[in-house]
């Protein structure tokens, strides 16, 4: 059995940031990533990031991934790629599946940074080829260089829906419409304005009723929704398209924590089932910490800051005090506060409050 000071599950923005800070504090770290490369979702983000300088604002996501990966190269971090953590057990033991090997790792502390997965939408024929998650389309397009179709309709106007639509246009795909069930655009207005000036129809109060096609998607039928989100009879419209992207939100990848029997709470504002955690990001499991989207769906900028805090705290709980502990703790918590204090942070503030109330 491999023994390490710290095990980190997930090599996205949160996990990489945790690895950097924990190793700076003196920990021997093992980082497990189920993909063949580090960076998580950052590697397919070709747009420039928001936030402030501390979270690499104005830098493209793919560049941020390179920076974060570079930062852990000089540190004592052992990286396991194409390595899926399949079990979390008492006494801080995880099981890993890599290649054809199945092995155990024991650690003084564990950071769970598994991220999130895409939600899907229920409608007739939603399993027709040509219907994708928006994240899947981004992976196909920006990592593998494969276009999903020629004429796309996007469902969902959150930042992912808006950004992936823009990237589809950059890749030469026609975005025929963006459909949003709510009466308002969900993501940042600057992203929406960018699409609008490129001629994309943004249709609010509308959803997909069914997909139509023989063996593959040929068109969709949309329907208008009233202010109680009920379908308005007779308002059906047809849009011809060969690809449909579903971008209706993410849910935390809670499975490992649930398996380890951490105390969990369903919080709608955070995207689903999340662990109850202390101010030090420790879950109800002793020395098991959690950070990033697995603790509530947010932007990558917050995930990076949370990851650093989790690394700092995991180290402290195992007796490793980071040389800049005090200044880091203050500055990181302040960064999160600032990122969340505007109107865009209302949902996450509300969700985190529920988690906070639960732990008292």
């Amino acid at each position: 059995m491999i023994e390490k000071d710290l095990v980190i599950v997930g090599g996205g923005p949160a996990g990489l940031s945790a690895a950097k800070v924990a190793s700076e504090a003196g920990m021997e770290v093992a980082l497990f990533e189920r993909s063949f490369q580090l960076g998580g979702q950052l590697v397919k983000q070709t747009h420039k990031f928001f936030g402030s300088q501390s979270q690499y604002a104005k830098t493209r996501g793919i560049e941020i991934a390179r920076i974060l990966i570079e930062e852990i190269k000089n540190e004592s971090v052992e990286v396991f790629l194409s390595a899926t953590v399949v079990g979390l057990y008492k006494d801080n033991i995880i099981t890993v599946y890599q290649g054809n090997k199945y092995f155990k790792v024991k650690a003084k502390a564990i950071v769970i940074a598994t991220g999130a997965s895409e939600k899907f939408l229920a409608f007739e024929n939603n399993d027709l080829p040509g219907i994708y998650g928006a994240g899947a389309v981004q992976t196909l397009m920006n990592i593998h260089g494969v276009l999903p179709g020629k004429e796309v309709v996007m469902v969902g106007s959150g930042n992912i829906g808006l950004i992936v639509s823009y990237q589809l246009i950059q890749a030469g795909v026609k975005v025929k419409a963006l459909i949003e069930a709510s009466s308002k655009i969900g993501g940042y207005m600057v992203h929406a304005s960018k699409l609008k000036r490129l001629g994309v129809d943004i249709i609010t109060s509308s959803t997909v009723k069914r997909a139509v096609g023989d063996r593959k998607l040929e068109k969709i039928i949309t329907v208008k929704l009233d202010d109680k989100w009920q379908e308005i009879p007779g308002s059906e419209e047809e849009i011809i398209c060969d690809a449909l992207c579903i971008s209706v939100g993410l849910s935390p990848m809670h499975q490992l924590l649930s398996m380890g029997e951490a105390n969990m709470l369903y919080v709608n504002e955070l995207g689903g089932l999340v662990p109850i955690k202390t101010c030090d990001y420790e879950t109800s499991l002793n020395n098991v910490f959690a950070c990033g989207d697995v603790t509530g769906i947010e932007e990558a900028s917050s995930a990076m800051v949370e990851g650093k805090i989790a690394g700092l705290m995991a180290a402290k709980h195992s007796g490793y005090i980071h040389p800049d502990y005090d200044s880091l703790e203050t500055s990181l918590n302040n960064q999160l506060c600032v990122l969340r204090q505007g109107p865009c942070g209302e949902k996450i503030r509300c969700g985190l409050k529920k988690v906070g109330e639960e732990r008292v």
């Binding site: 990031f49 928001f50 300088q53 493209r60 950059q170 207005m189 001629g199 609010t204 600032v338 505007g342």
Partner: protein, 158 residues
């Protein structure tokens, strides 16, 4: 309406422009209408012309006396929400961030596009194309002055 369409009203657009007399020199037009946690425009401005403050969610404000129209903010804005505008010899000049291919070339005529994505009646002339290190190209165009508050980007090559 803005929240439904993503299209700023003419009043909203006008509120981001200085008086026309100020536009004899190039100035940044910052079309950031809603609070989001973001401040690269402020931190990248070499002339301290853009202010957001400690709460990075605040909407940027610009001091047109300090703004030189250098265009650094237009190239860094993650929302592609900044352009540089100027009036010269009866024409409107714009520097816009552009992230599509093919890139325009100097001397070409392209269609102009408004904030609703509609093609303007008069074309624009590509005056300069500056490819930045981080791949956001800054394109300078000129168009007839009546389109000062209408033009937002270029559409197709003519």
């Amino acid at each position: 309406m803005f929240e439904k369409t993503g299209v700023a009203t003419p009043e909203m657009v006008r509120s981001k422009f200085p008086d026309k007399s100020v536009l004899v020199r190039p100035k940044a037009i910052i079309e950031c209408y809603r609070e989001i946690p973001c401040n690269p425009c402020e931190t990248s401005c070499p002339f301290d012309a853009i202010h957001i403050g400690d709460d990075i969610n605040k909407i940027p404000s610009i001091d047109f006396n300090r703004c030189t129209g250098c265009g650094i903010c237009a190239a860094v804005c993650p929302g592609l929400a900044i352009m540089i505008a100027m009036i010269k010899n009866g024409k409107a000049y714009f520097k816009i961030p552009y992230e599509l291919l093919p890139l325009p070339k100097v001397g070409e005529r392209w269609t102009g596009v408004n904030r609703r994505g509609e093609t303007l009646e008069k074309p624009c002339l590509i005056e300069n194309v500056q490819v930045k290190k981080d791949r956001t190209t800054i394109v300078t165009i000129s168009i007839e002055q009546p389109y000062l508050y209408e033009f937002i980007t270029i559409g197709e090559r003519l």
